[in-house]
């Protein structure tokens, strides 16, 4: 049996906290509001979609202290070991002087009812810390996870532009001035010892190493593995599911690596979308564009590609491009590791090929030959921070004679799992890559998919849009510009 050991230790604004009796499902938001009476952080939705609860969490990445915006409503307190949590109350100087980010929001009339405002301030603060000269696209991206119902956003964006333009050289900042000491302190709090705590009947476990994780899962094969909690968080806040015991893997450095070789990218299961973005976008710009449309910034800072793959959702956004790219997934347990093609991992709706005691260790994305073309298209009711109605990835190789030599097409939102369009692929391979072939292949979608009607789209729309996306792909390979772009170079 895993014995109780240690405590969850983190820094809250300027106070160090050690918690040894916390439920595995206790959220940071409740901790802030109920236990600490830090009520500046608001609850708007309790599902990571509105951003009213945005706080910054600082953590060490390769020894460097970085701060990321997160949704406190679905961030479990048990996942905070060796972090620095920064709330809106920490921004202003002791004499009440507002931080420049806050002052810009005041000067530009960026608040009306004010309830979303602390969350916006924290998102803007996260941007301010990480980007000296944000473009309009950068600002909108930083705000994708924050809803405002009053202002129409214009004054908030103006505030963001203004504070970026006029960065005072000497400014009071609660993070920058203590960077070195926080870094040192977090280094001390980081541990390779396993933390294990019980609270009533519930248990949370924070393994210190990968091998400890394998041992823990061998002992608790039904444990819930939590990386970013952007999905599991809702099991708790919305469904009251019992997920005992909970194993938090977000602090495991061994799962935080992203390795680039001549063969491709190996992405550790704990790597967040934000951390993976640069390397994926460099290798596959269209995949990078897709990542920019997954959740909001807070969700991308928390959510992992490993988790997106492992939870098996039919509407997860990373599986279609990963399947098109022939990605493999490596699962590890105490007994060793095995690797299988990602598409084989998905058995049916709600069922994946993950055996008791196994965890997803990494996803390998092989390098695609430069002669091939890849496109990824996400269709949703709202462009950003929405779940796909459908998401399609198209990959094709066309020989010198104009014939299609290979095709891999995969969709989310069209079946019970992320699924390849085998009939469409067959209808393309060996044919001339031209409009007639595409029109004829469009019919094959009916054999591949029988999508559902739900609140995101009707079956008819899903099928029609999927067919039309093949045409879009064809037109784009011919150099035609057929996608709407809000900003040049950004899909």
């Amino acid at each position: 049996m895993t014995q109780d050991a240690g405590s969850i230790r983190f820094i809250l604004n300027e106070t160090e906290v050690a918690l040894s009796d916390i439920a595995p499902t206790a959220t940071l938001l409740d901790y802030l509001r109920l236990d600490r009476r830090l009520t500046g952080t608001k609850e708007g939705c309790a599902e990571g979609d509105c951003g009213a609860c945005t706080v910054l969490v600082g953590r060490l990445v390769d020894g460097e202290l970085i701060y990321e915006s997160v949704n406190a409503c679905i961030r479990f307190t048990g996942s905070l070991n060796a972090t620095h949590v920064v709330t809106v109350e920490h921004l202003a100087a002791k004499d009440g002087t507002l931080h420049p980010v806050q002052q810009a929001m005041v000067d530009h009339h960026g608040s009306q009812c004010g309830f979303c405002t602390p969350g916006f301030v924290m998102s803007l603060y996260g941007l301010w810390l990480s980007n000296d000269a944000p473009s309009p696209a950068d600002i909108e991206k930083a705000l994708q996870g924050n809803l405002c119902r009053c202002t129409g956003y214009e004054p908030i964006v103006k505030a963001a532009e203004a504070v970026a333009r006029a960065r005072p050289s000497v400014v009071f900042d609660p993070i920058l001035k203590v960077r070195a000491s926080i870094t040192a302190r977090l280094q001390q709090l980081k541990t390779t010892d396993t933390i294990s705590l019980t609270s009533g009947e519930d248990r949370l476990i924070v393994p210190g190493t990968l091998s400890a994780l394998a041992d823990i899962l061998a002992e608790h094969p039904t444990a819930t593995i939590v990386a970013g909690s952007t999905d599991v968080g809702l099991w708790v806040t919305k469904q009251f599911r019992r997920i005992n015991p909970v194993v938090f893997i977000n602090g495991l450095d061994e799962l935080q690596t992203i390795r680039e070789t001549a063969d491709g990218l190996t992405i550790g299961a704990g790597v967040s979308y934000s951390m993976a973005f640069a390397k994926i976008a460099a290798a596959y710009p269209v995949f990078g564009n897709l990542i920019d449309r997954i959740g909001g910034e807070q969700v991308r800072n928390m959510g992992t590609i490993g988790g997106n793959v492992a939870n098996g959702s039919p509407i997860g956004d990373s599986p279609p491009p990963l399947i098109a790219l022939e990605a493999t997934v490596t699962l590890r347990s105490k007994d060793g590791a095995r690797t299988l093609p990602l598409e084989a991992f998905y058995i049916e709706y709600g069922k994946q090929d993950r055996r008791p005691g196994e965890f997803v260790e990494s996803v390998f994305v092989p390098r695609m030959p430069e002669t091939e073309r890849l496109a990824v298209y996400k269709i949703s009711k709202r462009r950003d921070e929405d779940i796909s109605a459908l998401c399609g990835a198209f990959r094709i190789a066309v020989a010198g004679d104009g014939k299609v030599t290979s095709a891999r097409i995969a969709f989310g939102g069209m079946a019970g799992t992320p699924k390849r369009a085998a009939n469409v692929e067959a209808a393309l391979i060996g044919k001339d890559w031209n409009e007639a072939t595409v029109i004829s292949a469009q019919n094959a979608f009916d054999a591949d998919y029988q999508p559902l009607t739900d609140w995101r789209a009707t079956a008819a729309y899903r099928q029609l849009a999927a067919k039309n996306l093949l045409m879009r792909f064809y037109l784009e390979t011919g150099g035609e510009s057929v996608q709407l772009r809000r900003f040049e170079g950004v899909a």
Partner: protein, 784 residues
């Protein structure tokens, strides 16, 4: 700190009327120190409530078993309809059709049938899921078309507006078109969900903090359910985290339950529903089905209009009567209908009872009217703007200046607004360029539209057009301001404070804005119908006037001079040639036993309305505006972007341009969401499946118009004697984004060479846009 500069140093005050000022709470908002109800410290022993929700759209409740609920650790009690001490009804229309808790009959999926009170909110919410309810299912109607076609009952009496001979004239008109438009509802999505917090007092007293736009109604409902008089109930609200109409009546159930539990248990009780519970259990904007029939001539001039506006009202009347009335009041948009008959049909459905939402039916009324214009334009091959101009209300006395409700349009400035915007936005050149672009662009198509707004200001229930204010001037010259309006982000408090500062000619930081409470100003109307500043600003002005008159009389006597020699100048009172600092003057007045406190009052003049005859002057004045929107659509997927928006809007003489621009921009984006991505979706069981931001998509920063030019019509001034000659601004801008909808429509129409009206329904989701494209491509001309 108050500034003690001399008059010579500064001859103007900080924060007069018409000045750009920040929201009074802006600093607190950004610092996280503005307190909402859930942020207030809780007294020891505070309990928390959660709703027990049903999972049938229409059913009899056979039994409810709470044994598992009551056995849960930390549960204090379960409340059902039988625990309501005096009444289980909170119908704001007084039709006795809205139970606090379902009593034997479930009328919408999710309707609360019980409430759990527990030591923590988490315990209460978890325990609420442990009840075992058995039902006998009854047939349900949730969809508006089904309701219409199956002869659903009406929740309240319908309205007819008629003028002239519509039946005959529509037959005589050279051309005629009929059609149907489906208009979706809308979730308010205030960022702060509903909340109520009740603290029991002595005897029959209770104090409730409620996130409400209507404290007096909360007071009445709490009193009614508890069976205590209004004087036992005090309701407070400092600020809401958004309202938009969603907190006009919908806070009642939470406030009542908190108060009932607090009195029963003699402990403080808080009710804060989760977002999903809030979206499931509280009403929304009404969906409408508009059937129209229009007769017109070959130029596009309208001869006669007949239209029926059927609304999905939900299971009870709530505010559906006045909402559907207002839809008809705006079914003329800005156009003169020589002969007209408009009817409303407030349909009962087994869905949550729909309620007030910014515009209050007006946007739906107007959208139907603008569809008629589109139909005429596409059928004649003309620019809809040309048809609009042809049909605008004429100048006063033109004979084309009377509305379907027989009110004359006496302050018409729509021609000037539209002409100015058409020029400044370069509408004609851009439209020509777009038509050229569409000729050669295979996949991406563009559209542009200019649509007008004319919105009637006043509650159509004449009695609601009254307001009170309470002003105290203290001996140190500081001023306490209270009025019946509530602050939900719209900037009411700062605007009214400007009125008061301006009246006394003191810097605005001398004025303390205080929380709205039924204990200071009684018998208030909801802060709604865009009326907050008009009514409360005037009431406050009246309170200041009374105090100033006393002060002037005092000065005239003390200084032995004529009253006209006494004036209020920047932070001073000028008596003859003598300047006395305001605080010193006030102190002297106190010692002279002058009453330094006053209750102000205002009632809107001129208005009257007879619903039975459909005649009257329901509106004191109209607010105007117009917008031009340009969009691009992807004809392969239906996806779209809003490329540019230009707005010219009339707020009269603005009391605070920054606040007004904020209302216009925010109202526009909110209205754009209603018409584009915000879709409410019920499944076959009658369950709302879009009940959280993960499934219900309001606009993001990246959805706002990429170029967004917003201007006030600076030359405008209210023709009526409103406060500072300003105009109401809360609702009218919500109607501006109809131009986005019509620009999408034009882009779709391009695939059939603009020969067919695309008949887009709202919201124009990417799916609806794509399906409209497919429909137009598939159909030969004249058959769509």
């Amino acid at each position: 700190m108050m500034d003690n500069t001399t008059f010579e140093e500064r001859k103007t005050i900080a924060g007069p009327m018409h000045a750009t000022l920040r929201h009074d709470s802006a600093h607190k908002h950004v610092a996280g120190s503005a307190d909402y109800i859930d942020d207030l410290p809780e007294p020891a022993g505070t309990l928390h409530g959660a709703l027990g929700m049903t999972d049938r759209a229409h059913a009899e409740i056979i039994s409810m078993d709470f044994s598992a609920v009551e056995a849960a650790h930390g549960v204090v009690c379960v409340l059902t309809a039988k625990d309501m001490p005096h009444s289980n009804d909170i119908s704001p229309s007084h039709l006795d059709d809205e139970p606090v808790l379902a009593d034997g009959l479930v009328q919408f999926h999710g309707q609360p049938a019980f409430a759990v009170i527990a030591e923590t909110r988490d315990i209460a919410r978890r325990a609420a899921r442990l009840a075992k309810i058995t039902y006998r299912d009854l047939p349900h109607l949730t969809d508006i078309t089904d309701a219409l076609e199956n002869g659903a009952a009406l929740v309240t009496k319908p309205l007819t507006l008629q003028r002239g001979e519509p039946e005959a004239e529509i037959e005589l008109a050279p051309r005629r078109l009929k059609g149907r438009m489906r208009i979706g509802g809308q979730e308010h999505f205030y960022l702060e969900s509903h909340i109520a917090f009740a603290i029991p007092g002595e005897d029959d007293e209770v104090t409730v903090w409620s996130s409400t736009q209507h404290p007096s109604e909360i007071q009445h409902m709490v009193g009614h359910v508890l069976g205590v008089p209004s004087n036992a109930v005090t309701v407070n609200v400092r600020r809401m985290g958004g309202g938009f109409g969603g907190k006009e009546t919908q806070g009642n159930q939470f406030a009542v339950l908190a108060a009932v539990a607090a009195k029963k248990l003699n402990r403080a009780v808080k009710f804060r529903p989760d977002r999903d519970e809030d979206m499931t259990a509280t009403g929304k904007r009404h969906d409408f089905l508009v059937d129209y029939d229009v007769g017109f001539d070959k130029e596009g001039r309208i001869h006669a209009v007949k239209a029926n506006y059927a609304a999905r009202c939900g299971y009870s009347s709530d505010l559906s009567g006045p909402v559907t009335d207002r839809a008809l009041f705006h079914a003329d948009s800005s156009y003169f209908y020589p002969h007209v008959k408009l009817t409303s049909q407030p349909l009962k459905t087994h869905t949550v009872s729909n309620t007030a939402y910014r515009g209050f039916g007006g946007p739906q009324g107007m959208l139907g009217s603008e569809r008629i214009i589109e139909e005429i334009a596409y059928s004649l091959g003309k620019d809809p703007l040309e048809i609009r101009k042809l049909n605008f209300y004429g100048e006063t006395g033109s004979g084309r200046d009377v509305t379907p409700y027989h009110q004359m349009v006496e302050d018409n400035i729509i021609h000037g607004i539209v002409a100015e915007l058409e020029a400044s936005s370069e509408y004609q050149a851009r439209r020509a360029a777009i038509i050229d672009f569409n000729k050669t662009s295979r996949v991406i198509r563009k559209g542009i539209a200019l649509t007008p707004v004319k919105f009637g200001i006043s509650f159509t229930m004449t009695a609601f057009n009254q307001a009170g204010a309470l002003v105290h001037v203290y001996q140190d010259g500081s001023i306490h301001l209270n009025h019946g309006g509530t602050e939900m982000g719209q900037g009411l408090y700062i605007k009214v404070a400007q009125v008061l500062a301006d009246s006394f000619q003191v810097d605005i930081d001398r004025v303390k804005i205080t929380a709205t409470t039924t204990g200071k100003v009684p018998n208030t109307s909801a802060t709604a119908a865009s009326s907050g500043t008009d009514l409360n600003g005037m009431a406050t002005y009246d309170a200041a006037r009374q105090i100033k008159e006393r002060l002037i009389a005092f000065a005239a006597e003390r200084w032995q001079t004529a009253p006209e020699n006494v004036s209020f100048v920047a932070n001073h009172v000028k008596i003859g040639d003598e300047l006395v600092p305001f605080p010193d003057f006030v102190k002297q007045a106190y010692f002279a036993r002058v009453q330094l406190s006053a209750a102000g009052f205002y009632k809107t003049p001129k208005i009257h309305w007879d619903r039975n005859t459909g005649r009257g002057m329901p509106f004191y004045y109209f607010a105007y505006g117009a917008s031009v929107s340009e969009v691009s659509i992807d004809t392969l997927t239906g996806e779209y972007m809003v490329d540019r928006v230009d707005i010219l809007h009339d707020v009269g003489k603005s009391l605070n341009p920054a606040i007004d621009i904020g209302q216009i921009e925010g109202g526009f984006v909110q209205g754009m969401g209603w018409l584009t991505t915000e879709e409410l979706w019920w499944d076959a069981k009658g369950r709302l499946r879009t009940h959280a931001p993960s499934t219900y998509k309001i606009p993001l920063a990246s959805d706002r118009p990429k170029i967004f030019n917003v201007k006030l019509a600076e030359w405008a001034e209210n023709a009526e004697k409103s406060i500072g000659r300003s105009k109401a601004v809360g609702e009218p801008p919500f109607l501006l984004p109809v131009s986005v909808f019509e620009a999408l429509s034009m882009a779709v129409a391009s695939v059939a060479d603009y020969r067919e009206c695309p008949r887009l329904d709202a919201p124009a989701t990417p799916e609806r846009v794509l399906m409209a494209v497919e429909r137009l491509r598939a159909a030969p001309a004249g058959t769509v």
